[in-house]
């Protein structure tokens, strides 16, 4: 039979153990609370941004539209020549860049691979555009992208760091503090999500430069998909809804100009490629104020139809641009 003092001892033990368990739970909760980041992944600091600026969101970087000068398509092998000609056809760089402008160039620097593989924006296009901006007395040109895997390697091995620096641009690599949580009004995916926007805070012009690639998930990666690089956090979650996220990014970002480099097109095994066998010389440079039109034309270089890319129709419906690029009467030329 159990003695009263044994019952007391057992009760005491139970109470002591219960108190210890409660203390452990409280400590775990305290640590979790301490580690909890209410702003979400990557959004460590929204108050202190790039160059000490306050970051609220992305500005509208677009310039007034001029009918008949919305998109240009130039054939040729030399990227510097074709991009210069394509911009000239749209009215020249002076239409887009004014003295004193701060220009951000957003290439695709997603991989630490050499230019040979065509997975990243070719450094020759970046160098040519940086030079054009400085010719029109831009006060600063920034080249930046959110390369998630070892940005230093991506910028170095892609040749972008060297080319941009040589042309006088400032190369900016991502930091946690450069992200701010943004919400796209009317969007279903970009809700309080960390967006790479601090490097754009003091800029008044934005130029996107994208390579033309096949893409395993989105079928093609062009100027609209290029904005995927602005997503912070665990952005791979959006691979499950790739068409809507690309369309929403195109609604969020209003660039001055987009450039689609189809000098060499990655026809297969994108977006990484790996072999020169994935590439085809298509010798085409597209410059456009309408990224939907640019990407719709880009489909033809990938042997696709615009209908193969659902995000084009979604973006068109949202008013980002037009799939019917021929209706814009593209300005065409060829350079040798």
């Amino acid at each position: 039979m159990t003695e009263p003092n044994q019952i007391n001892s057992a009760r005491r033990q139970l109470l002591i153990r219960g108190a210890k368990a409660a203390a452990s739970i409280a400590a775990a909760v305290g640590v979790a609370r301490w580690l909890y980041d209410p702003k979400g992944p990557g959004a460590k600091n929204e108050e202190v941004g790039f160059l000490g600026t306050s970051v609220k969101g992305l500005s509208d970087f677009s310039v007034p539209r001029k009918d008949g000068q919305v998109i240009s398509i130039v054939k040729g092998q030399d990227r510097a020549k074709t991009v210069n000609k394509a911009i000239e056809l749209l009215g020249g760089i002076e239409r887009f860049i004014k003295p004193g402008d701060v220009v951000v160039i957003k290439p695709n620097v997603g991989f630490a691979t050499p230019p040979l593989l065509g997975a990243t924006t070719h450094p020759d296009v970046i160098a040519a555009v940086v030079k054009l901006c400085y010719e029109k007395k831009a006060s600063k040109v920034i080249v930046t992208d959110n390369s998630i895997n070892d940005p230093a390697s991506c910028f170095t091995i892609s040749g972008i760091s060297k080319a941009a620096s040589a042309a006088g641009a400032q190369v900016v690599m991502p930091r946690d503090s450069y992200f701010s949580p943004l919400t796209l009004e009317g969007g279903s995916l970009i809700k309080d999500w960390p967006i790479y926007c601090a490097p754009f805070a003091k800029a008044n012009k934005l130029i996107g430069i994208a390579p033309l690639k096949n893409h395993h998930r989105s079928v093609a990666s062009m100027t609209m998909k290029n904005w995927y690089g602005l997503l912070g956090g665990r952005r791979n979650v959006f691979h499950q809804d790739i068409n809507n996220i690309i369309a929403e990014l195109a609604m969020l970002v209003k660039p001055t100009l987009v450039i689609l480099d189809g000098t060499v097109t990655m026809m297969t095994n994108g977006p990484t490629g790996g072999s020169v066998s994935d590439l085809k010389k298509t010798n085409t440079m597209i410059v456009s104020c309408d990224m939907v039109a640019a990407d719709a034309f880009g489909c033809s270089l990938l042997n696709l139809k615009p209908a193969d890319l659902p995000y084009l129709a979604i973006a068109e419906k949202a008013g980002v641009g037009t799939v019917d690029y021929e209706s814009l009467k593209p300005l065409r030329a060829e350079v040798t």
């Binding site: 050499p114 040979l116 998630i148 998930r217 990666s221 297969t268 790996g274 072999s275 994935d278």
Partner: protein
Amino acid sequence: MQLFSGRARTLESVVGMLILLVMVATAAGIYIVSQNYNMARFGIASGSGQESGGDFLPVGKAETYNNDNLYEKIDGKAPMYQEAGFVKLTAQRFAAKSNSELGFELYVYDMNNAKNAFSVYSRQKRADATDLNDLGVSAFGYVAGNEICISLGRNYIEMIGSAESNELVDGMEGIAKDLSAKFKPTDNDKIVELGYFPPQGTVAGSWKLQIDNAFGFDGLTDAYSATYKIGDKAVSIFFSKRKNADEAKAIAKNYYDFLITNGGKAVTVDGEVLKSAGASVADFYGSFEMVFSTGVFVGGVHEANDKQAAEKAAEILIGRLKEIND
């Protein structure tokens, strides 16, 4: 009487401490291994400054990626690997001893089993690839420009050269052979289904395996396909082995319904062999799709330009699969 004696409490404390120590040691071990992956396992030394044993030196440390962070390395291509059973990626850069500007990056994807590895290998195989034929039984490999790809047991391996250089490709080929010698696939790794294709007419090396969602239809899994030659015409034939004949028949019907629902137009089937296998043909936006079932196999022809060639190839495939059934 006390519930716990002093001796028992001491023993309990000691055991508890030991368990905690084992857990800490395990966590530390996992961390150290993940930070210092030993590339010597693949016949190539890791860590800066070490000799590679070949013409290349490792540059920096090996990187490892799992399902949580694979996208950091290969971004939009990650889902393809993950849907095929990806476990782990180990990547390491190498530079030529003779020229540090010349190098390659080695990717070793652990795909859990040989079929998964073969699936990602075959789906990415380049059209202009030159097969590496001396890698051993059940190992597959090819060279395409600056790149060498190998399916070796449970591993899918890529070596991506930084330039189109004969010196580089020769060096990578040597490493490919070393790897295949070290990691000879076992009998369990053999993909017996490749032998189910008709021996005459099937283009060697054209095999593909789609683990799921074959031809955009999520009901068609484990589908093997290959190029089959009918005279000068090439036709893509496929099959998938199912649990039983009823399942094969149901998948054939569902796949055909999927084609019709998505814009295909029914086409008359000619030939007794095809009719006996319940073959259905659809004109799918200008190309012919055919599906049938025979025994435990569902099979067919994909994206054929010529209906007669498609029917002939399907008849031969049906005959071959019947032999396997028997």
